[in-house]
């Protein structure tokens, strides 16, 4: 009993940092509608800056002073990011900003590596709070008790700030209707900057406050971002008390999980989130998101059209070039094209549900990795012939997507995104922790193609045929009645339902189709590399696909393919550099700022400006 209580206290103490970071993310999303992937990076910066300041400042005053200063410093950095990067792209299509925040993640990762080095830092113990207190005979670190006492104070302070001050009124008003707030004469730009700085500062404080328990390392950013999203979503987007309850819930559950069911820890919080979202689609204390509340931003939609003669000619020319490539190109170029094709198909499958269906999935890697693992497991355990195993990749991924989609399509917007993320984490943790079947992070190796394909050139043609075939199939479907029905459900679900369209069923079929195509890409991937590891199922893999879709342009059909080609090529050249993440991050941010409609969208607009009125694409 005493042991259980001690576990409970550990969970409560862990909730402090999590709540701080999550409340920051929630505030930022509520006001600016930016899903800030980089929030974990601010947390990491908080930890590193905190360590440095604590080394400089002596004693108890120095310790707590360092924490305070850290928050201010990270808040300033956040304000800088908002002013330099995000402020320029608020009018871009919805969610486009998350690409920029992804660039910020990369930049901060390498900057932290440059400044603090690759070694983990141990956090200093809090002066005067080094020992333990005995509670019912169990030792509980003194610092934990202090954290437990501090967290409600922080909640109260934030609650006071939001409900009782002028800034709080502005924040709440902007959360409900930011255009109205702008119309009432509030300087939105500075409100957004202020909120972003406050949110970042909270993340920084979170990072500094957990130092005596956890220290600082370069993996902190991605390690916490999943948990933070989970907390915000379980609590309900924009609800501070909700975030508090969820942080406590997750941390306590996690503490018990570590003690009793260690293999569950990776997945426990995602299971809880999935359960909460299925029962309460808008989180514990969240309210229903009213879609389209802020109206259309950016350029008005134009009807999509297949390519005119010029577009077809260009595509054919490109395909002929690719088909002829093995005749003169060096092997590494073939490998690069295979990588690009696989990624392009993966991205195109996400683009299909995201661009055409309006379903933003944060967990698309589940189907890519799922397909790869399905094929690899068959080969590894039962020596299934490659051809058969390969066929199972899209099939298994499609069935998986059908199952996951069945739960997810009831939700929309960010909640949909989060539930897909939760399910993909489930799949990932299966691959990672079910070692007897999947060999965990040792991965499945020696998964090679059948003999007749086991050479660079045959496999190149297989990839080209299936990859290009898959992409063209998806494009064809977009122009087919089904694609139109999917788009109708995105444009106006109410109108679609009122004209006999079963929007949910259409979306589910589309989701399964996209999953199958991602699985096909996964199948191509695993036999080209000869191995598969749990990394192919990670959040970062899902984010990669998301980034290239937005980078290429959500509203253009070629967006996913162009974005994927761009990204794979750039990465291919940059990874030779020591600080390639920094360069890549800056490239992404530059593209985002210079081309707010994505690469294809912006090129199209420029082309349209050069030769007006000719190309409303003939049929």
């Amino acid at each position: 009993m005493a042991f259980l209580f001690a576990l409970f206290l550990t969970g409560l103490a862990n909730a402090a940092a999590l709540f701080l970071v999550a409340s920051g993310l929630s505030l930022i999303f509520g006001v600016t509608r930016i899903v800030n992937f980089a929030h974990g990076s601010f947390y990491m910066l908080g930890a590193f800056i905190g360590v440095t300041l604590m080394e400089l400042l002596p004693g108890a005053v120095g310790f707590w002073g360092a924490i305070l200063l850290t928050g201010l410093a990270v808040g300033l950095i956040g304000a800088l990011v908002e002013i330099v990067v995000l402020r320029r792209i608020y009018r871009a299509p919805e969610l486009f900003q998350l690409v920029a925040t992804f660039g910020v993640i990369l930049v901060i990762q390498d900057l932290a590596l440059m400044i603090w080095g690759a070694e983990d830092r141990l956090g200093p113990r809090a002066p005067g709070l080094r020992g333990v207190w005995r509670i019912f005979g169990e030792p509980v670190p003194k610092f934990d008790i202090v954290l437990i006492a501090i967290t409600p104070v922080i909640l109260l302070a934030l609650w006071y700030l939001i409900t009782r001050t002028r800034l709080g009124i502005l924040v709440r008003a902007a959360t409900q209707d930011r255009e109205m707030v702008g119309a009432l004469g509030v300087n939105q730009a500075w409100l957004f900057t202020g909120v972003f700085a406050l949110g970042s500062a909270l993340a920084g404080w979170g990072g500094a406050l957990q130092l005596p328990k956890g220290g600082a390392n370069l993996l902190m950013d991605f390690n916490i971002i999943g948990a933070v999203f989970v907390v915000v979503v379980i609590g309900g987007m924009g609800s501070l008390p909700g975030a508090f309850i969820a942080a406590v819930l997750i941390s306590v559950l996690n503490a018990f999980g570590v003690a009793f069911l260690p293999e569950s820890t990776l997945v426990l919080m995602f299971v809880v989130m999935a359960a909460v979202l299925i029962l309460r689609p808008y989180g514990l204390l969240g309210r229903e998101e009213t879609a389209g509340e802020h109206g259309q931003v950016g350029a008005p939609e134009t009807p999509i059209r297949p390519y005119g003669p010029r577009g077809v000619a260009l595509t054919v020319a490109l395909l002929v070039l690719l088909a002829a490539l093995p005749a003169f190109a060096e092997p590494f170029l073939l490998t690069l094209v295979v990588d690009i094709t696989v990624f392009a198909l993966f991205a195109a499958s996400l683009h299909f549900i995201l661009g055409t269906g309006g379903m933003v999935s944060f967990g698309h890697a589940a189907f890519f990795g799922g397909g790869a693992y399905a094929a690899a497991l068959l080969v590894y355990h039962s020596e299934t012939p490659m051809e058969l195993a390969f066929l199972c990749a899209p099939l298994a991924a499609g069935v998986l997507a059908l199952g996951i989609g069945w739960f997810c399509i009831r939700l929309s917007g960010v909640y949909f995104a989060m539930l897909t993320l939760a399910f993909s984490q489930l799949v990932w943790s299966l691959a990672f922790q079910w070692r007897s079947v999947t060999r965990g992070d040792d991965g499945l190796i020696n998964i090679w193609p059948a003999d007749w394909l086991n050479a660079p050139m045959p496999y190149y043609y297989l990839t080209l045929a299936l990859g290009v075939g898959g992409i063209l199939t998806l494009r064809h479907i977009i122009h087919a009645p089904f694609g139109y029905a999917l788009r109708a459900g995105r444009d106006s679900p109410r109108q679609a339902e009122a004209m006999g369209i079963n929007v949910g069923r259409v979306q589910l079929v589309a989701f399964a189709l996209a999953g199958a195509m991602a699985g096909l890409a996964g199948g191509l991937f695993v036999f080209s590399k000869g191995s598969v590891f749990p990394t192919e199922l990670e959040i970062t893999k899902s984010f990669d696909a998301l980034i290239v879709v937005f980078l290429g342009g959500v509203k253009t059909l070629a967006g996913g393919v162009v974005g994927a080609s761009f990204m794979t090529s750039v990465e291919h050249w940059l990874t030779r550099l020591e600080y390639w993440r920094l360069v890549l991050g800056l490239v992404i941010i530059a593209v985002v700022i210079l081309m707010p409609e994505g690469i294809v969208g912006t090129l199209k607009r420029l082309a349209g400006r050069l030769r007006p009125s000719t190309e409303e694409a003939p049929r």
Binding site: H479, A485, Q495, G500
Partner: protein, 256 residues
Amino acid sequence: MTEILRADTLRKSYDGFLAVDGVSFSVREGELKALIGPNGAGKSTCFNMLTGQLKPSSGEVFLRGARITGKRPREIWRLGVGRTFQITGTYASMSVAENVQMALISHHRRLFGFGARAWKLYRAEALDLLRSVALDDQADRPCSVLAYGDLKRLELAIALSHRPRLLLMDEPTAGMAPSARIDMMQLVADVVRDQGLSVLFTEHDMDVVFAHAHHIMVLNRGKLIADGNAEAVRNDPRVQEVYLGGGTLFKEARDA
């Protein structure tokens, strides 16, 4: 004339507030019937219960004698009921013609078609429908650039595309210029006459209502206070109290 739609003591309460309080009425074949009432009277709530967007707290809806209470909007649409909304909901990423074609594709149950090119399907039919609302000259424009009045007419074309026997129009002329309002309602009246379909509509413009509706119902604070022809409704003391009590003469101060 036989009745096509009947509402039987419909009730909708929100946290104890009765938005619609025991409303019963019927719409007959070939009838153009108006549902009027001050803002907040419960007209849209009433409409949404008829077409399945809202579930009534109690009461029943019958379509040609068959109970349709609680059915989904898409099921009611398949039974031959068209619907337009107070705030138009068209597909911004499609052209004007494609918006109509979408409804035709759904009507012909080809939503799960993966082979055909959607913009080639039922284009002639769509153009005919657009011609009937005088929008055919804008068929290939993006829907997102249409003027509001044109959007309203597009919505009418969409609603007519599955040859409904009953059409429910929530404020068909809201946001239109006065002359356009008369034209719009004349269009609806012509359709009713030519195709013999029934229309139930809500409207704020009393000129439009009294010029076209065969019968008028008046809703006030969730209760039906009058149901009859124009003359009877005009002379009903309770209606006069609702509309004249505030000193305005059959013309409301605009709604929100």
